[in-house]
């Protein structure tokens, strides 16, 4: 059984259909790259998975558990959705780090707030804090940012900020980590350091969905590529196949913009 099953997701903004009956599965440890031009619905799909948008139809299942379905209207309250969100992590195009916190504090904040909900939090506060800090430092270390732990976001380059954001998302150990054009806001010379981290995560079998315009990266780092256009999935298959030998005319036309 696939870790993630998405069935028949549709989303309209007013009279514009942004997503039309999208279905996809993702195996544990798989990396799926979603490509397509602006306005094809890629970002909206990620936002639906993270419940930043509510889809109009369809169903989202993780590990066989129905997290959301258009039929089950009961589970839409903020408190219910909040827990379900934690199955997913999301890394934004423009990082969205919290400016008043250091890199380390950015990575730790959500974990500390969640720990407060544990019944024995008061008694174990110091241990919990120490464990969270150690985990955060390890994650920053993985991102090559250990010596930047005490820096505030404005003291970091875009590439460093995005790597902190990735550590922040990883800290909650989501089942599926989503990336919404993680390098689109970066100068070309900073793109590489973020892609390097993504490749490393893929090599460690982190389950990921990456919306990206970096075709070379999608081709080598992702297991599968999904091409979206006009709110539908046009083509999906093994990464190299789709990018090197697309079957659909629309995919071919899209990819032709990236050659040379």
């Amino acid at each position: 059984m696939a870790l993630l099953e998405v069935k028949g997701i549709s989303k309209n903004f007013g009279s514009t259909a942004v997503l039309k009956d999208i279905s996809l599965e993702l195996e544990k440890g798989g990396a799926l790259a979603i490509i397509g031009s602006s306005g094809s619905g890629k970002t909206t799909l990620l936002r639906c998975l993270n419940f930043l948008e509510t889809a109009d139809t369809g169903e989202i299942r993780v590990n066989g558990e129905t997290l959301w379905s258009a039929a089950g209207a009961g589970g839409r309250r903020e408190s219910v959705i909040r827990k379900k969100r934690l199955h997913f992590g999301l890394v934004f195009q423009n990082f969205n780090l919290f400016p008043q916190y250091t890199a380390l504090q950015n990575v730790m904040l959500a974990g500390e707030l969640l720990a407060r909900e544990q019944p024995d939090y008061r008694a174990r506060r110091k241990d919990i804090h120490a464990a969270l800090e150690q985990q955060a430092r390890e994650l920053l270390g993985q991102m090559g940012l250990l010596e930047r732990a005490g820096h505030y976001p404005h003291q970091l380059s875009g590439g460093q900020q995005q790597r902190v954001a990735i550590a922040r998302a990883l800290a909650l150990r989501p089942d599926i980590l989503c990336f919404d054009e993680p390098t689109s806001a970066l100068d070309p010379e900073l793109t590489g350091e973020v892609l390097r981290v993504l490749r490393q995560l893929a090599a460690n079998r982190t389950t990921m969905i990456i919306v990206t315009h970096e075709m070379a990266f999608a081709r080598e780092a992702a297991d599968e590529v999904l091409f979206m256009d006009g709110g539908v999935v046009v083509e999906r298959g093994p990464a190299r196949e789709v990018i090197d030998h697309p079957r659909e005319e629309r995919t071919r036309r899209f990819l032709s913009h990236y050659e040379a």
Binding site: N50, F51, L52, E78, S79, R82, K83, R85, L86, F88, G89, L90, F92, N94, N96, L97, F98, P99, Q100, L109, A110, L113, L114, Y152, P153, H154, R168, A169, L172
Partner: protein, 220 residues
């Protein structure tokens, strides 16, 4: 010499009323302004409309008039007069009028500050499983405070000088005290009141500058 000291003493006594009015107004208007701001951003349109109309009326009429209406209005309309008699009642009425007036001005500053925080900050908090309350207090609030500090500083400095409007309903504040001497031909006490306001505003300016510096460690 003795008389000069006595006059300065009376001016200080008058200024104490200005200080009380200033402190009490801030104490209540700062939180009330947040309530008004949330009302003016409410998703429920009738509430939003009512709050915005109220803010328009309060910002659109003179504070002096509001002080008079609030103090004399209930009695003139034949309603129960809520104000105690004597100086306590006059101060209470002035405080109430000032709180309402300044809460409306503050609310617009708050609203601007809250709306200026990028949507992505809230979304980042949501995706990390935070509650709306946690996002407000742990993520948004400090960014809002940093943004609104300069315009709030302006309003607070205006408030210092507005407190003299309380003499409209016979609150014996510093200007009123000094004018009594003026009517008796002694003009320097009135001119010297400027020094009280200048000293107070000077101290406030230093405090505001210090606060801004304290929040200088991050950019947003």
């Amino acid at each position: 010499m003795q008389e000069t000291l006595a006059i300065v003493g009376r001016l200080c006594g008058g200024f104490w009323l200005n200080c009380q009015l200033f402190g009490l107004t801030l104490l209540f208007a700062v939180p009330l302004g947040l309530v008004v701001a949330l009302g003016s951003m409410a998703r429920f349109a009738p509430l939003r409309g009512a709050v915005k109309t109220f803010v328009w009326v309060i910002r659109g009429t003179p504070l002096m008039l509001q002080v008079i209406v609030l103090y004399l209005g209930p009695g003139l309309m034949g309603l129960h007069n809520p104000w105690p008699s004597g100086s306590a009642g006059r101060l209470a009425a002035a405080v109430a009028a000032f709180v309402i007036n300044y809460a409306c001005y503050f609310s617009e500053i708050y609203r601007g500050g809250i709306e200026a925080v990028p949507r992505g900050q809230t979304e980042a908090g949501q995706v990390l499983g935070m509650t709306r309350t946690q996002i407000f207090f742990k993520v948004t609030l400090l960014q809002v405070i940093k943004r609104i500090l300069p315009p709030m500083g302006n309003e607070v400095i205006t408030l210092v000088k507005d407190t003299s409007l309380a003499n409209t309903i016979a609150n014996v504040e510093i200007i009123m005290t000094a004018r009594e001497y003026g009517s008796r031909g002694l003009i320097w006490p009135l001119f010297s009141t400027a020094l009280f306001f200048l000293a107070f505003v000077g101290a406030l300016t230093l405090l505001l500058g210090w606060l801004e510096k304290r929040l200088d460690y991050f950019r947003c």
